[in-house]
C-alpha cells in the first residue's frame, strides 16, 4: 500500500467525530441483530429439545410388536403408553395428553429440560399418581397431594369413557407452556390398563447425534412392524414453523443490514464532502484519484468492520447472558409470552451470524465504493474556485 494512503487512512480513523459516530451506529445495529439471532435460534432449539425429550423423542415407534433397533446412535430408549383424558378441577377442566412412563423415564437427560418436584413418599395415598405441569395445576387449582378426577378417552372402538381418580404425585415445568399445558405423566403399568390398544404403545428414542441426517438415518435403519416417525414428521407444523420463522428472521435481518449499509454509504458521502479540501490538496500534491478513493475506502471500511465486530462481541456477550432478562419476562403477566420459551441455553448460531455479517460486509463495501465515485469530481481547482 502506498505510504501516503496508509497514513491518511490512519489519520481519518483516529480523527474523532463522524467516523466514531458511524462506528457506534454500526455497532448499535449489529449488536441487536446478533442478539436477535442468538435469541431466536436458541429459543427454537430449546423448544425443539423439549418436544424431543419430553414429548416425542427424536424417533418414535408406534404400535410395534417386534422391532430391531440398531444401538449405535441411541442415547436412551423408553417404552411409553399414550392416551387422552379430560381432567376436572374444582372450577375448570383441562384436556390432557396422558403419557404412561416407567420410573427411569425421568433420567438426567430429561431432567435437564424440566423441573420436577415429587410429592414426598409419606404424603402418598393408595391412589395411582399423576404428574401434572405447573400450568395445568394452576388452571385446575391443584397442588401436589390433591386428588383429581379424570375422564379417560378410550383408545379402542369398543371402549367407553372411564372415570378415574388419581393423586397429584408431582408437579413439573419445562418452561414452554405449549407443552406444559397439554402433557401429564402417569405410571406405565396403570397406563397399560387404561389404554390397551397396540397403537397406544410408543417407543421413544433419543439419539446421540441429533443432526437431521443422523436422526433420519436412525429412523430408516429400524426394522419394525409398527410405524416409525421422526419428531419433525410427527410435529411437521411445529417444525415447518421453526424453519419458516428462522428464514423470516434472517430475511428481516438482511433487510436491516441493507438499510445499515446504505447508512454507511451516506456516511461515506458525507465524509467525502467534509474532506473536499484535503482531497483537493492531496491531488494538487500529485495523489491520483485511485489513492484518494483507496484511502477513504480503507478508513470508512475499517470503521465499519470495527463497528461490526464491536457489535458482534457485544451481541454475543449479551446474547449469552439473556437469563436475567428472560427471568424478568417470565415473571411478567404478558399473555403472548406463553408462545415463547423463556428458559433455554443460549447457543451462538455461527452459521446465521456469519451469513448476516458477510452480507453486511459485502453490501457495505459495495455501497462505499459506489459513494466514492464522487472523488473523481474533486480536482485541485476546487481549492481556487470552490466548485
Amino acid at each position: 500500500m502506498n505510504p501516503f494512503v496508509a497514513l491518511w487512512s490512519r489519520k481519518r480513523i483516529l480523527r474523532r467525530g463522524r467516523l466514531t459516530g458511524c462506528m457506534v451506529l454500526i455497532a448499535l445495529v449489529t449488536a441487536p441483530l446478533v442478539i436477535a439471532l442468538i435469541f431466536s435460534g436458541s429459543m427454537m432449539n430449546g423448544i425443539a429439545d423439549r418436544f424431543i425429550y419430553l414429548s416425542d423423542g427424536h424417533v418414535q415407534i408406534t404400535g410395534a410388536g417386534n422391532s430391531t433397533i440398531p444401538q449405535d446412535n441411541i442415547l436412551c430408549m423408553d417404552e411409553t403408553v399414550t392416551g387422552y383424558a379430560l381432567m376436572y378441577g374444582a372450577s375448570d377442566t383441562a384436556s390432557v395428553s396422558l403419557k404412561g412412563v416407567k420410573e427411569d423415564y425421568f433420567n438426567s437427560y430429561r431432567l435437564h429440560y424440566m423441573d420436577l418436584e415429587y410429592l414426598p413418599q409419606e404424603e402418598r395415598s393408595g391412589l395411582n399418581r399423576i404428574i401434572l405441569s405447573e400450568t395445568t395445576s394452576h388452571k385446575l387449582n391443584l397442588k401436589a397431594g390433591d386428588r383429581v378426577a379424570l375422564m379417560v378417552v378410550p383408545d379402542t372402538e369398543e371402549g367407553v369413557l372411564r372415570p378415574v381418580m388419581l393423586q397429584v404425585g408431582g408437579i413439573y415445568s419445562c418452561g414452554y407452556e405449549q407443552i406444559d399445558s397439554n402433557l401429564a405423566f402417569i405410571d406405565y403399568t396403570h397406563a397399560q390398563k387404561l389404554f390397551s390398544s397396540r397403537d397406544s404403545r410408543v417407543t421413544e428414542i433419543i439419539a446421540k447425534d441429533s443432526s437431521d441426517t443422523a436422526v433420519r438415518s436412525l429412523a430408516s435403519s429400524i426394522s419394525t412392524d409398527g410405524r416409525v416417525n421422526t419428531w419433525q414428521s410427527k410435529n411437521s407444523s411445529v417444525y415447518s414453523n421453526f424453519v419458516n420463522s428462522r428464514q423470516m428472521i434472517i430475511l428481516i435481518l438482511l433487510i436491516i443490514v441493507f438499510i445499515a449499509s446504505f447508512f454507511t454509504a451516506s456516511s461515506a458521502n458525507q465524509i467525502i464532502e467534509d474532506d473536499v479540501q484535503e482531497i483537493a490538496v492531496s491531488k494538487l500534491m500529485g495523489a491520483s484519484d485511485r489513492m484518494t478513493r483507496q484511502s477513504a475506502f480503507i478508513s470508512i471500511y475499517t470503521v465499519t468492520l470495527t463497528g461490526m465486530f464491536i457489535g458482534l462481541a457485544a451481541g454475543i456477550l449479551i446474547g449469552l447472558n439473556l437469563s436475567p432478562i428472560l427471568n424478568l419476562l417470565s415473571r411478567s403477566d404478558l399473555i403472548n409470552l406463553s408462545y415463547y420459551l423463556l428458559d433455554f441455553s443460549s447457543v451462538v448460531p455461527w452459521r446465521d451470524i456469519i451469513l448476516v455479517l458477510a452480507v453486511m460486509t459485502c453490501v457495505s463495501a459495495l455501497s462505499i465504493l459506489i459513494s466514492l465515485r464522487h472523488t473523481r469530481r474533486i480536482t485541485p481547482m476546487r481549492l481556487f474556485t470552490g466548485l
Binding site: 502506498n2 501516503f4 484535503e278 491531488k283 500534491m285 500529485g286 480536482t379 481547482m381
Partner: protein, 228 residues
C-alpha cells in the same frame, strides 16, 4: 526542453448571464528559464493566478498548449498529470494549503510518500528541508499550532520535497505581515537558488518581484517583459 513552456495560451470564461465569453488571457507565450526565477506581476483580477494554474496543469486553457519537458499536458489523463505534478512541480500558495490533521513533518513528507518513497528516505529529506528553514523544533506541530510564517515555510519545504524542476508560487507572502513576508521571501529565494530550481512567481508586490531574474507584467490579457 524546458520544465514548463506555454504556447499561445488563451483563457476565457462564460459570462455570468451565459451569453458571450470573457477573455482573460490572450495568446500568451511564456518559457521560464531553467534555474532562474520569473515573476508575473499585475493588478488584481488580471488573470495572474489563472495563468499560473494553467502553467501548473491545474486548469486547462481554452486554447494553446502547456508543455512540461516537451510533453503536452493537454494530451495527458488526470492520473498522468498528477504524476507530473508530483515529480516535476512544487506549489506554494498564499493560504499554504497544509493538511490540518498532519504534523509539519508529515505535511512535508506527503509528496514523497505519494511518490511511494520509503519512510526513512522521506523523513530524512523532510528533516533536511525543515532544518534549512529553521523548523526543527516544530516537526510534530499541527498546522493550527504554527504561526502564519511557519506554515508558509512548511509549505515551501513541501513544494521542494520531491526536488521538482519548477516551483509555482502564487502570492506566497500575501497573507503575512511585513517582517514575516520578508523572512519567507528570503528563505524562498535562498532555497530555490541553493537547490537550483526554476521559480515562477505570481505577486502584486513589486519589490518581491524585482528580486527575480525576469519580471513580466500581465495587463490587458497580454504578457509583457519588464525585466530580464
Amino acid at each position: 526542453m524546458y520544465p514548463i513552456e506555454l504556447r499561445k495560451i488563451t483563457k476565457s470564461f462564460k459570462n455570468a448571464s451565459g451569453n458571450g465569453e470573457l477573455l482573460i488571457l490572450d495568446s500568451i507565450d511564456l518559457c521560464p528559464q531553467v534555474g532562474k526565477s520569473t515573476a508575473i506581476i499585475g493588478k488584481s483580477g488580471t488573470g495572474k493566478s489563472t495563468l499560473l494554474q494553467i502553467a501548473g496543469g491545474l486548469d486547462a486553457p481554452t486554447s494553446g498548449s502547456v508543455f512540461c519537458n516537451g510533453t503536452d499536458l493537454g494530451t495527458l489523463s488526470d492520473s498522468k498529470k498528477s504524476l507530473i505534478r508530483n515529480r516535476n512541480m512544487g506549489f506554494v500558495f498564499q493560504n499554504n494549503m497544509l493538511l490540518e490533521d498532519f504534523t509539519a513533518l508529515e505535511n512535508v513528507m506527503i509528496p514523497a510518500m505519494i511518490a511511494g518513497k520509503g519512510k526513512k528516505e522521506c523523513r530524512d529529506r523532510a528533516l533536511e528541508l525543515l532544518e534549512k528553514l529553521g523548523l526543527t523544533d516544530r516537526l510534530d506541530h499541527l498546522p493550527g499550532q504554527l504561526s502564519g510564517g511557519e506554515r508558509q515555510r512548511v509549505a515551501i519545504c513541501r513544494a521542494l520535497m520531491n526536488s521538482p524542476e519548477i516551483i509555482f508560487a502564487d502570492e506566497p507572502t500575501g497573507s503575512l505581515d511585513e517582517e514575516n513576508a520578508r523572512e519567507v521571501e528570503n528563505m524562498l529565494f535562498d532555497i530555490v537558488s541553493s537547490e537550483k530550481k526554476t521559480l515562477l512567481l505570481v505577486t502584486h508586490n513589486i519589490d518581491f518581484a524585482n528580486r527575480c531574474d525576469m519580471v513580466y507584467r500581465l495587463s490587458n490579457r497580454k504578457l509583457t517583459l519588464e525585466k530580464g
